[in-house]
């Protein structure tokens, strides 16, 4: 086997491999100069610089191979636990994200009507002044709450939150309610933390409920899964589709959509009823077991079989196998299981399942606990009296403020209830595509007096905005050091740095710079007390006594780890709460009870959602490298069903729901339940500024109906039912 090269060797080899390049050098750019001083680049400006990927939330560490001021190859950083030296297809294609010919490289100001894509280039000063002016106008006329801020969580989120909170608006939208609110809220209630860490090293038995790790790739975890299966770990996989993960599973259970809850309740029924749970663990570390026990008595496998369409014997056997394998078993908490309103209780059932067989400490651990990063000084935020438009917490008492319920936010804007919003500030987010019912989102947009976006491409949201502020791509900028303990950047006890590996092209700037510029213009300088990006990061590092230069060389800094007892949970009882008193008090089920999901009428199908390995949500469809190797998008339909409907592979079909209709190409396949159809989201872009993605496929956002779980605020994406006919 070839020796794996350490990162240090990379640097040495980088210098040797590239040798003498062009004699004429550009005037050494600032980045190259710094990198040369740090020892990365050799005299010919070639070498490897460590940074972080941003093609998905896994944020792997990478090594960027740079030659003559250009990124020529990306490799995984062996030191980063999420990459271990590898990059997934999107990570490898990240170059084309930076070098996408459709990049927005200067500030743009709209000149035509919204949606026409007519913009003029402007200077940063003009654009920033305009944004600040508009925001202040809205603040003065309608109050700061009339300005809505939303961003998909990223490393600059703390500064984004600074901006909106200092501005005085309560209206904060993230992507989380479209993603994993069900899971994180359930974990918070049960374990007091958003997402415990999973450890595959001792795993013997794994249940995945819809977590399609082979296609919704999380680099290292996908690798861990395949290695686990490789060494004989039993994988039970619940999904109405035969995905690439199903192909690796020991057993694929084509469960009826929306019924994962029944499956897991029956699991609990068997494990508790047959005394297969870990009695000492339950006695020592949990509260509420008796309530769970009596609640699940009625949920027999026979009962579940009728609902889930999985044989009772199978459910019973899996429950016994799972308990027997414990504590080396794991029911994966997934993102949101089946995407139905009852997914929250399903997640609760999963947490209980793991807890009662005592997986804690073998396959589940507390989330990373490194601390110690500093931050610039800032005063307290102004008091906010206005209600949040998204109903948190007055309609959704259990949704953390930092998550929000973005689809509710959108609906409130349309309804102008409890009040009208007038401005929307969007960073690194594509709500026009991501929120269900695209028409309604565009209606919300139409209500805005002013929309400003920060992005690298003219994606759909940017296309409909008034001012576009170009961000430098992730290979061209700094971001704050990642916060450990944050489920989206936790990597044990190391904080990795994102640093520019090339000069930003055009006039792209980091969002750290943009927020400070805006902050200064809005009179909020106190909340942005840093000179520039490097100054900010140095302030983060100050408590650790480490300089940015030292971190740059290594790519990361180790944080002091507090040795906590893993058997302590930050719940109100200090133990694992199998029963949630707070849910109980609020009138919801404190222990999971069966909630019958809605089902399609005759002639309708469940419209499932999911992921593909070569795309990340709604932002990557324009990447030419990913497009080259991707499958053509379309609507999956079961072969037999298509035959009975007289539909053939490749036919254009009309898909209609309660909120809209689309035309999409049909993909006839055996790999899906007869009562389901499936579209991979992310296609059907409206922006003509995406020359590769425009015209490619159709968008399921146009037909998805908005259903929100009242407890976690999670959007039930698969609760949409559609008819399918030949176009």
């Amino acid at each position: 086997m070839t020796n794996t090269i350490s990162r240090r060797d990379f640097l040495k080899l980088g210098g040797v491999a590239f040798g003498a390049l062009a004699i004429e050098q550009f005037i050494p750019p600032l980045v190259a100069q710094a990198a040369r001083e740090a020892g990365y680049l050799d005299a010919s400006d070639s070498g490897y610089i460590p940074s972080m990927c941003e093609m998905c939330v896994w944020r792997c560490g990478l090594l960027a191979k740079v030659q003559n001021g250009r990124v020529v190859k990306l490799e995984g950083n062996p030191d980063h636990p999420h990459s271990k030296g590898k990059l997934c297809p999107r990570g490898q294609a990240g170059l084309m994200n930076t070098y996408d010919p459709d990049r927005v490289l200067s500030p743009l100001i709209r000149v035509g009507n919204r949606g026409e894509g007519q913009f003029r280039k402007a200077s940063w000063d003009e654009a920033l002044d305009m944004v600040a002016q508009n925001m202040l106008n809205i603040k003065t006329k309608y109050g700061p709450e009339a300005m809505v801020f939303s961003s998909t969580h990223n490393l600059s989120q703390p500064l984004f939150e600074n901006l909106l909170q200092a501005f005085g608006s309560p209206n904060y939208g993230t992507q989380r309610s479209l993603c994993f609110n069900a899971m994180t809220v359930a974990n918070l209630m049960t374990f007091g933390m958003e997402e415990p860490e999973r450890d595959y090293s001792q795993l013997k038995y794994l249940i995945l409920t819809g977590r399609n790790l082979a296609e919704a790739i999380s680099n290292s975890e996908t690798g861990d899964l395949v290695h686990a299966v490789d060494r004989g770990v039993k994988l039970i996989y619940l999904d109405p589709r035969f995905t690439k993960t199903a192909a690796k599973a020991t057993e694929w259970l084509p469960i009826r959509p929306g019924t994962d809850l029944a499956f897991h309740l029956a699991m609990l029924n068997v494990i508790i009823g047959e005394n297969l749970y870990n009695q000492s663990f339950v006695a020592q570390y949990t509260v509420g077991f008796d309530e769970v026990s009596s609640a699940v008595q009625q949920y027999t496998p026979e009962w579940a079989a009728g609902i889930t369409e999985i044989p009772a014997d199978t459910i019973r056997r899996i429950a016994r196998e799972f308990a027997a394998a414990a504590p080396y078993a794991l029911a994966h908490n997934n993102w949101r299981t089946s995407n139905f309103v009852n997914s929250f209780q399903t997640e609760r059932a999963i947490t209980i399942l793991n807890a009662i067989v005592g997986n804690w400490g073998t396959t589940m651990f507390p989330a990373g606990s490194g601390t110690g990063l500093g931050a610039p000084k800032q005063p307290a935020f102004p008091r906010v009296s206005a209600l949040r438009l998204d109903g948190v917490p007055w309609k959704y008492p259990f949704v953390p403020l930092q998550y929000g319920v973005i689809q509710e936010l959108r609906d409130a804007i349309v309804a102008e209830n409890p009040y009208a919003a007038h401005g929307w500030f969007i960073t690194r987010q594509n709500p026009v595509m991501s929120i269900p019912d695209r028409k309604k989102t565009l209606t919300a947009f139409a209500k805005m007096d002013f929309i400003v976006t920060i992005d690298i491409l003219l994606n759909d949201t940017t296309w409909f905005s008034d001012v576009v502020l170009p961000e430098a791509s992730y290979l061209e900028r700094y971001d704050p050091l990642s916060l450990v303990g944050d489920p989206l950047s936790a990597v044990g006890s190391r904080a990795f740095v994102r640093q520019p590996v090339i000069e930003p092209q055009g006039e792209g700037k980091s969002s750290m710079w943009i927020y400070k510029q805006l902050g200064d213009r809005l009179g909020l300088s106190d909340f942005f007390q840093y000179k520039d990006e490097e100054d900010y990061i140095n302030q983060q590092l100050a408590p650790l006594g480490v300089s940015l230069d030292a971190v740059r060389k290594q790519g990361y800094v180790d944080l002091p780890v507090s040795n906590t007892d893993i058997h302590k949970w930050t719940t109100s009882s200090g133990k694992i709460e199998l029963k949630s008193d707070s849910l109980d008090k609020a009138g919801f089920d404190g222990v999971p009870k069966w909630e019958e999901p809605p089902a399609p009428k005759s002639g309708q199908f469940y419209l499932l959602t999911g992921k593909g390995a070569r795309q990340t949500q709604f932002g990557t469809q324009n990447n030419q490298l990913l497009h080259k190797y991707d499958d053509e998008p379309g609507l999956w339909m079961n072969t037999k069903v298509a035959a009975t409907q007289g539909l053939n592979n490749g036919d254009m079909v009309q898909v209609a729901s309660a909120v809209g209709q689309i035309y999409v190409k049909l993909i006839v396949t055996q790999a899906i339940r007869p009562d389901c159809v499936y579209m991979q989201p992310g296609f059907g872009h409206l922006s003509m500024g995406l020359t590769t993605a425009y015209g490619l496929g159709s968008s399921d956002s146009d037909v998805r109906v908005t259903y929100t779980d009242p407890i976690s605020g999670g959007q039930a994406l698969s609760q949409t039912f559609v008819t399918v006919q030949k176009a």
Partner: protein, 264 residues
């Protein structure tokens, strides 16, 4: 004949049970080797989804170049555009290529591919996987191997990989087809494959251990001897016929001379 088991080449091991068809390898290869957007050096083939709902299976096969121990492309190319390094990689020099595409016929695996959509000025050549010599020469793995998130692709000494492959089969006899494809096929290849489905479903041909090129090369080697022999035969016949005719003429002349005396 080389000892197939002990060929000292660098090689790949592809384990189809680990491949999730994510195609990171292809993207990494495209970037590493500056491949234009309308070409690729590695690709997916294979039946993909198998069976009928709900009894389904899946396989994906990543095609590279087999880097045969006895490459047919190298044997077939009239202008010698292919070469093989002592450590195994089969390389190709597009400066020599005339675009005859014989190598495409010769390769039993359908590896070399051609620019059918390029004219003379743009350059229409063969292209194929080179085992990333620019990486392996500095101790890195080929781009595809380095990035594979599930270690479906491994790289190293062929003998080591054969040992690894066989130990996997032994450890999980019900999982794998009991054969390492490429161990002996075509005289041994340096792209070794483990699979859970018959290799034919991956689009791999059924080949024996005799290198495919042997017969062709043996026939070519007969060219000169045959030419000399045949030329000698023809010369002999020519001379013989000439002599025969001359003799006939002489006899006829002698007869003619004799005849007039009789009629006197």
């Amino acid at each position: 004949m080389t000892d197939i088991q002990n060929i000292k080449h660098k090689a790949f091991l592809f384990d189809a049970t680990r491949c999730i068809d994510c195609r990171a390898c292809m993207i990494a290869c495209s970037v590493e080797n500056n491949i234009p957007v309308d070409k690729t050096r590695i690709w997916v083939a294979g039946v993909g989804l198998m069976g009928e709902y709900p009894n389904l299976g899946r396989v994906s096969m990543v095609y590279h170049c087999m880097h045969c121990n006895e490459p047919d492309c190298l044997s077939a190319c009239p202008v010698g555009a292919y070469s093989q390094r002592p450590d195994g990689p089969v390389l190709y020099d597009h400066n020599k290529c005339i675009g005859c595409r014989y190598c495409m016929n010769a390769c039993p695996f359908g590896v070399p591919h051609f620019d059918f959509n390029k004219g003379l000025l743009q350059g229409a050549f063969i292209d194929k996987c080179t085992m990333c010599p620019q990486r392996i020469d500095i101790g890195l793995e080929p781009a595809c191997v380095a990035t594979c998130p599930t270690d479906a692709l491994m790289f190293g000494e062929r003998t080591d990989l054969l040992t690894e492959a066989h130990s996997r089969i032994t450890a999980y006899p019900t999982r794998y087809i009991n054969h390492v494809y490429g161990e002996t096929e075509n005289g041994g290849t340096s792209y070794l494959i483990l699979s859970h489905v018959p290799f034919a479903e991956l689009g791999l041909p059924n080949l024996g251990s005799t290198p495919v090129r042997d017969i062709s090369e043996a026939a070519m080697a007969l060219t000169i001897p045959f030419a000399l022999a045949w030329g000698a035969v023809l010369t002999g016949v020519t001379v013989g016929v000439h002599q025969f005719n001359k003799r006939k003429e002489q006899l006829a002349e002698a007869e003619a001379k004799a005849k007039p005396e009789e009629t006197k």
